[in-house]
């Protein structure tokens, strides 16, 4: 479709091969089709067994089910019924996060849980903020261009059709995008709040271009999905069905095409046939039931994200794979990444009430690529955010305030607006997921994640902190509070050209095992400074195409 028609048809074009938006109920939020969902017996050999009902697993299941494959998706967490299970409340949303035991180490340990880890049908996109930027073409060749990171075994051109397809499915709302590979979005940008408007003024005064979006939140109606109501609780699960997650964008269509989503089932290991070296299925246990079951499958796709995917591959030991799957060269769990995500808040005389509207509003990718003058490789993006009271309290605490000073800043909540960065932190082999000595309630070793920043990472974070502080100053902020933090997970089972330096090949096949795939963000060799959700979905969409869908 040409640029002219994209403009004319904005807000009117949906995907041709995904009916999820029509299958949803206008008046109820449940995933339609749960009661009549097709079920498969454990000993029935299905065409595809997916582990993890999140962004990567759900897209893959939906695509292949449409091609007539028999598909089962195992999900460790619950099958949500949002009308009853999800609340407009920060503390009450605890069950959306992966809160099972994990250990964090290294010089710069990364907080997990609500920060970056989801559990339940729909995965962590149920509680992601909603930013859905694409990676830039430069992300696929950072080593060739800048001598850092590693080059992908595929290019932006391979992913571009899938970015466009997934953007129509979510659908993404935003202004025309000038950065990376310039493109338009299927839906028009959302209105800008008073808080984000302040930040845009400051950015413009600093010569920084900011654009509204891109967010996977509909601005308008989309099939039976209603318009966003601007209540601001995107991170607590969208009770409106306006924000995109696989729960509303791909799983309704998947269920309608015969996919079984088997919730509350924790995968324990991929079972390998020692005679052939191929996977026979996955051993799993239901929550609250110690019995080990085995679902047989012709093909297994692991889609448990950057911590649980390495954990499952490492735990899947057998005679042929004594160190776990794809781990003959000790690559599983390495090169796991997060993004630097410092946030600074500014204070203005008038009330801004940042709790309104989705936290993700406007962003800039002007600093995305390497600029030699800055003294470090690669870059960062800038995005507005808006913490609710508990998040705001953590922000005030991080700036060094407690007791009466904290209460004073908290009472001033309505006068503040918050801007954040996403730094591209570089992959490093010692930043890795391993198995700890302790075990969980299933007797499975828990994951340990070690993380240490490099000098390039620190220089990037220090530079970006000055940039957003400058934005607040230029916008006339009277006071500034800053929190250092990290966001997102990616890598840990990266794709590459050889088993010596990667876990999967360009078609997501685990090296050395003919029928095990990895279909989630852990395959990404680098991460850019874009939020990963859209790219994880686009990669799964491409993988499905490579498998024949």
């Amino acid at each position: 479709m040409g640029t002219f028609w994209r403009g004319v048809l904005k807000g009117a074009v949906g995907p041709r091969d995904n009916d999820s938006r029509y299958l949803l109920d206008v008046h109820r939020r449940d995933l339609p089709g749960e009661a009549t969902m097709r079920r498969y017996a454990d000993d029935e050999e299905v065409d595809l067994l997916v582990v993890g009902a999140g962004a990567g697993g759900s897209v893959l299941a939906q695509r292949l089910a449409r091609r007539g494959w028999t598909v089962v998706v195992l999900e460790a967490g619950p099958f949500w019924h949002p009308d009853e299970d999800w609340v407009s409340d920060e503390a009450g949303s605890h069950q959306l996060y992966w809160t099972q035991d994990r250990v964090i180490g290294g010089a710069d340990p990364i907080e997990l849980g609500k920060n970056n880890s989801g559990r339940g049908v729909g995965g962590s996109m149920v509680h992601y903020a909603g930013y859905t930027p694409r990676f830039h073409p430069s992300d696929f060749s950072t080593f060739a261009d800048d001598g850092v990171g590693v080059d992908w075994p595929l290019s932006y051109a391979d992913l571009r059709p899938h970015y466009e397809r997934v953007e129509r499915e979510l659908p993404v709302a935003g202004q025309d995008w000038p950065w990376g590979y310039p493109h338009r979005y299927p839906f028009a940008p959302h209105p800008v709040t008073g808080a984000a408007g302040k930040l845009r003024e400051g950015a413009l005064a600093c010569g920084i271009e900011m654009r509204v979006g891109p967010v996977g939140i509909i601005n308008g109606t989309f099939g039976n999905r209603p318009h966003c109501i601007y209540r601001g609780y995107c991170l607590q699960g969208c009770k409106v069905n306006a924000k995109a997650s696989p729960y509303v964008t791909h799983l309704p269509d998947a269920l309608a095409h015969g996919v079984e989503v088997r919730a509350n089932c924790m995968a324990l290991r991929v079972e390998i046939d020692d005679a052939t070296g191929a996977a026979r299925g996955v051993v799993y246990a239901r929550e609250g039931d110690g019995e080990h079951r085995r679902q047989r499958a012709k093909l297994v796709a692991v889609a448990c994200y950057s911590i649980e995917t390495p954990r499952l591959l490492l735990a899947s030991t057998s005679k042929r794979h004594p160190h776990g799957l794809g781990n003959n060269a000790d690559q599983v769990g390495r090169y796991v990444m997060v993004q630097g995500a410092a946030q600074s808040a500014g204070r203005w005389p008038e009330e801004l009430r940042m709790y309104k509207a989705p936290p993700p509003e406007i962003s800039s990718e002007q600093f995305y690529e390497t600029d030699a003058a800055r003294g470090f490789a690669r870059g960062f993006s800038i995005q507005t955010v808006s913490p609710l009271p508990i998040g705001w309290a953590e922000h005030v605490l991080a700036d060094g305030h407690w007791g009466r000073a904290l209460r004073e800043y908290m009472r001033d909540y309505n006068h503040w607006a918050t801007i954040g960065v996403l730094n591209e932190l570089l992959p490093h082999p010692e930043n890795r997921v391993t198995l700890a000595d302790e075990t969980d309630t299933f007797g499975q070793p828990v994951a340990r994640m070690d993380y240490t920043l490099s000098d390039n990472d620190k220089a990037n974070m220090a530079f970006s902190a000055k940039v957003i502080h400058g934005v607040l100053d230029a916008a006339g902020a009277q006071d500034v509070l800053t929190i250092q933090r990290f966001a997102h997970l990616i890598g840990g089972a990266r794709m590459g050209g050889s088993p010596e330096n990667s876990v999967v090949d360009a078609d997501h096949r685990v090296w050395g095992v003919p029928n095990v795939l990895v279909s989630d963000g852990s395959v990404c060799p680098t991460q850019g400074s874009a939020n990963p959700a859209l790219t994880i979905m686009a990669l799964a969409s491409r993988l499905a195409e490579r498998l024949g869908a």
Binding site: G105, T193, R231, L397, R411
Partner: protein, 250 residues
């Protein structure tokens, strides 16, 4: 102390003269510059929105949210995780870090206790730290250890000023000796504060104090912030204790 006695605070919220970092010693003014709450409840009955009660909107909340939020208003039972010996230290610590020096109080200690008793942890443990419930226990023992060695009494028996001194050192990660040597003290501070803040700012009384609109499903928001035009009819603007008319005539 009346607001007149606080140079630079007065009625001027806009100027931000009450903001700790803009004041000498980064200390906030005593809360006497704030109006008493006239509608609904706030912690210590102070706040910036004296005529705003988030619970007025409870009829517009969905049932699931209503159930979760209103449960926090029920009076807490006896502690289930912490022992009777630990209780005074826990309560005193939660009071100090959230500056709750009078009734009505948000029952932070009881809310932290419930979280630990139910095992609702946050999904990660630092490699050099015990699990969160054990960290809490060790911190409470450490506070008593420091209070006894510095002031010869338990943490709960110390004066408010002495408790604040100890907590100030804790916030800087500077406490050593006894139970503190079992912990990375700076990380222990972040673990316990995460729990205390999440409890306090999940309570509707705290939302009244800060003028937070609260749950808004299925109603939503139409006016998206930024000055008077960005305010919904049911949201009221901030206020101070000083009568603006008297202020002008002075």
């Amino acid at each position: 102390m009346a607001a007149d006695d606080l140079p630079g605070v007065g009625a001027d919220i806009a100027a931000g003269a009450h903001l700790p970092k803009l004041r000498p010693g980064t200390q906030p003014p005593p809360p006497s510059w704030l109006p008493r709450q006239r509608r609904g409840t706030t912690p210590q009955m102070i706040g910036r929105y004296p005529d705003f009660d988030v619970l007025d909107a409870v009829d517009t909340w969905d049932d699931a949210t209503k159930k979760v939020v209103l449960a926090r208003l029920e009076s807490p039972g006896p502690l289930r995780f912490f022992s009777a010996e630990e209780e005074p230290t826990l309560v005193a610590f939660c009071d100090v870090v959230l500056a709750q020096d009078a009734e009505p109080r948000v029952p932070v200690a009881a809310m932290v206790d419930a979280k630990m008793a139910d095992g609702k942890l946050d999904g990660y443990r630092y490699a050099d730290m015990p699990r969160d419930p054990d960290t809490w226990r060790t911190v409470l023992a450490g506070l008593d250890h420091t209070a006894r060695s510095a002031y010869g009494c338990s943490f709960a028996e110390c004066s408010a000023e002495r408790r604040e001194n100890i907590v100030g050192e804790f916030a800087q990660g500077r406490l050593v000796g006894g139970p503190w040597d079992e912990l990375n003290v700076a990380r222990a501070w972040s673990v316990v504060m995460r729990g205390a803040l999440a409890a306090f700012y999940s309570h509707p009384w705290a939302w009244n104090e800060i003028g937070f609109g609260g749950p808004a499903y299925p109603r939503g928001f139409l006016r998206l912030g930024g000055g008077a035009a960005g305010r919904e009819p049911f949201e009221t603007s901030g206020a101070v204790a000083v009568d603006p008319v008297r202020e002008d005539s002075r």
